[in-house]
Symmetry: C2
C-alpha cells in the first residue's frame, strides 16, 4: 500500500548505502521553467569518423594508432588523472593534510561503431563489454598498488563527455574514494549486525512492494531506489549477494547485459533523445580484505528532468545543503515502466 | 616554503571542515578540450525589464505585485521547495526511512537594477544585502520550527539560475542538511579537543604562509582553501571567531561587503565574463543549542575552468568517487590575485 504522504508533502529520505539524505519536494514539479535549455544534438553520426580518436585504425593525440578492433577496445588514458609512476609523498603541516595518490586510468571503447550507444547495442554485444569490465577489474585487482577500481561512463556532452564515440572509463587507485568509503561503512555495519547483505535485504523489500521496480529477469532487478537523487536515477542490482562482477557466470553476464539494454533503451524513449547520464559500478575494494559485506550494483545518474532540453540543476541549495528532487521516485518509475 | 610535490604529482587533500577528500591532478590541466562549450551571454541587460518577475512594480506569476523597492526586496518563494504548513509524518518501514521536512523559502533581490550583479554594486549597496541577510537570519532563528538557515545565490544560467535579475535565496528548515551536519561534526570535535575555532586556527596558518590568500582587510580574509574542489573556489572568512552573521557590527558588515565586492570583481575579470557561481553562507544552526564551535564563512563554487565557455564537469568519477580538480589551489590563487 503506497504511502500517499510521500507523494504530497516535502520530506527527506534516507540513503541506506551512504548514510545521507535527499530532500524531496513533490509539489515543486509544477513550477514553470524559465532557465537554461540544453542543446539537443539530432546529428546522425556516421559509423566511422576519421577525426575521432577512438575509432578503429585512427591515430590518437599521443601518436599511437588504435588497432582495427572488432568489439571492445581498452587502452590506458592518454591524459590520466592518476598515474602509476607518480611520486609517493605526504603532507602533514598543521591543518594542511595531503597524501599522494597513484593509480591507473583506462578508456574502454564499447564498440567500433561510432554511431552507437549502449542503448543501440544488442545484449550479446553489451555482454562483451561486461567481459571487458571483468578482465580489467581482475587485472587491476591483482595489482598490489591498486585498492579500488571505479568503472564508469559519462554519456552526452551535458555530462562532460568530450567524444560521442561509445566509451566508458576505469579509474583505479591506491585508496578508497569518498563515496566508496561511505558505502563500505554502511554495508559493513549492517553485515556485522545482521549477517546479511544490506542491499540484498533491501531488494527483498522492494520486490515485495513492487512500487519502484522498473524491470527484472532471473538474476537482476532494475529499480529506482527509494532515496534516488536524480529525477530518473536507477540502479541495477544482482539478486544474488555478489561482492564484485567477477562472480558473474556467463548466463548472469548476459542477463546483466539485458538489464543494461532494457534500461538504456527506455531512457532514450523517455524524452525521445539519446539520454545523457553518468553511470558507475560500485563494488568491493581490491584491497585484499574480506569484503563479504559488499553487494555490487550499477547506478545511473541522468540529469534530464522535464524534456530533452531541461535538466535538473544541482546547485546552490544542493551544494551547500542536501540534494533536492522534485518528482518522486514513484512517479519516475511509472513513467519509465510504460516505455519497456 | 611551498611544497612543490603538490604542484607536480597527483594527490588528495583533506577538507578539515567536511572530513572528505578532493583528488588533485596538477599535470592534467594540459589535456586538450574537445567537449561541450557553454553559451556566453554578452547581452547587455536594461536596468528595468517589464517581463522580469523580480523587477520593482512588476507582477509575479501568482498575481502578487512587487513593491517599488529602492534597494533590497525579500519575499517568500512562490514555488518553495519547503513549506511551513506542510504535514508532519515519518516513515520507518524496514529499510525505507523518511521524515517530513518543513521550512520557509525566500527570494532576496539584491538591487532593483535588473542589469547589475554583486560585482557591479558598490560595497555600500552590498552592505544593505548583508543587513537583509542578518534580518532574515534573525527572524528565522526566532521561529521555533526553523533549526537551520541556508543563504545562497545561484548566479548565471549555467548554475540553474532562471532569472538574471540580481537575487539570492534563503531556504530554512527544521533539520540540518547533509553538508551542515558534516561541518557541525568536524568543528565540534576540534572545538572540544582544542577549545578554539577550527577555521580560526586554519586562518592563522594561512595568513602565515601567504600561499592561498586572495585578499584581506581588517576583519576578513578571502582565500582559496587548501582543499578547494572547484577550479576557482574561494572562501570569505571573518578573522574573529563568530558563529553567525548576527555578530557583525556595522563596520564589519561593510568590510564583509568589501570582501564580496573585491572577489566578485576579480572573478568577472578572470575570463572577461559575468562569472557564474553558486555561493552560500555556512553558519551556526538556529536550533537553540550552544553553537560556539561554529565559525561562519561564505564559499563561492564557480564552475568555469579554462575560459568563459569551458567549465569543469563534476561527473562520472566525481559522482561515484571523489571530486577531482586539475589546476591546483595555488595556481588559481596566483591567477586571481593579479586581477585585484
Ligand atoms: O529556485 P530556482 O532558482 O528556480 O532553482 C535553482 O535553484 C534551486 C536551489 O539550488 C535548485 O533546486 C534548482 O534545481 C535550480 O534550478
Ligand atoms: O575524462 P574526460 O571524459 O575527458 O572528462 C570527463 O570525465 C572526467 C571523469 O568523470 C571528469 O573529471 C571531467 O571533468 C569530465 O570532463
Amino acid at each position: 500500500m503506497e504511502n500517499t504522504d510521500l507523494q504530497d508533502y516535502s520530506h527527506k529520505r534516507y540513503n541506506i548505502l551512504t548514510g545521507e539524505w535527499v530532500l524531496v519536494s513533490p509539489h515543486r514539479a509544477k513550477r514553470p521553467w524559465q532557465g537554461q535549455n540544453e542543446a539537443v544534438s539530432n546529428e546522425v553520426r556516421p559509423s566511422y569518423d576519421e577525426t575521432c580518436y577512438l575509432c578503429a585504425g585512427n591515430t590518437r593525440i599521443n601518436g599511437e594508432i588504435n588497432p582495427k578492433y572488432q568489439d571492445v577496445f581498452v587502452f590506458t588514458n592518454d591524459f590520466a588523472a592518476l598515474q602509476s609512476d607518480s611520486k609517493s609523498f605526504s603532507v602533514e603541516d598543521g591543518l594542511l593534510l595531503a597524501q599522494s595518490e597513484t593509480g591507473i586510468c583506462k578508456v574502454i571503447c564499447f564498440s567500433p561503431d561510432h554511431s552507437k550507444s549502449l542503448a543501440d547495442m544488442a545484449p550479446n554485444d553489451i555482454q562483451k563489454v561486461v567481459y571487458a569490465w571483468q578482465r580489467e577489474y581482475k587485472e587491476l585487482a591483482d595489482n598490489p598498488d591498486i585498492n579500488y577500481v571505479q568503472i564508469f561512463e559519462n554519456k552526452g556532452a551535458v555530462m562532460g563527455c568530450s567524444n560521442p564515440h561509445p566509451h566508458g572509463q576505469i579509474w583505479s587507485q591506491s585508496t578508497l574514494p569518498n563515496e566508496v568509503e561511505k558505502k563500505n561503512t554502511q554495508q559493513l555495519a549492517y553485515f556485522n549486525k545482521n549477517n546479511s547483505s544490506l542491499l540484498g535485504d533491501y531488494l527483498i523489500q522492494e520486490l515485495e512492494k513492487q512500487e519502484r521496480i522498473i524491470f527484472e529477469n532471473d538474476s537482476f532487478v532494475v529499480l529506482i531506489p527509494f532515496w534516488a537523487i536524480w529525477p530518473f536515477e536507477a540502479m541495477i542490482v544482482p539478486k544474488k549477494h555478489q561482492a564484485n562482477i567477477l562472480e558473474l557466470n556467463d548466463t548472469e553476464a548476459l542477463l546483466y547485459a539485458e538489464a543494461i539494454s532494457v534500461l538504456t533503451k527506455a531512457y532514450d524513449k523517455l524524452f525521445n533523445t539519446s539520454f545523457p547520464y553518468s553511470s558507475g559500478i560500485h563494488q568491493a575494494p581490491t584491497n585484499g580484505e574480506e569484503n563479504n559485506h559488499w553487494h555490487w550494483h550499477m547506478s545511473f545518474y541522468p540529469p534530464l528532468l522535464r524534456s530533452a532540453t531541461v535538466k535538473k540543476f544541482m546547485v546552490g541549495y544542493e551544494m551547500f545543503g542536501t540534494p533536492q528532487r522534485d518528482i518522486t521516485a514513484e512517479t519516475a518509475v511509472k513513467m519509465i515502466r510504460e516505455l519497456i
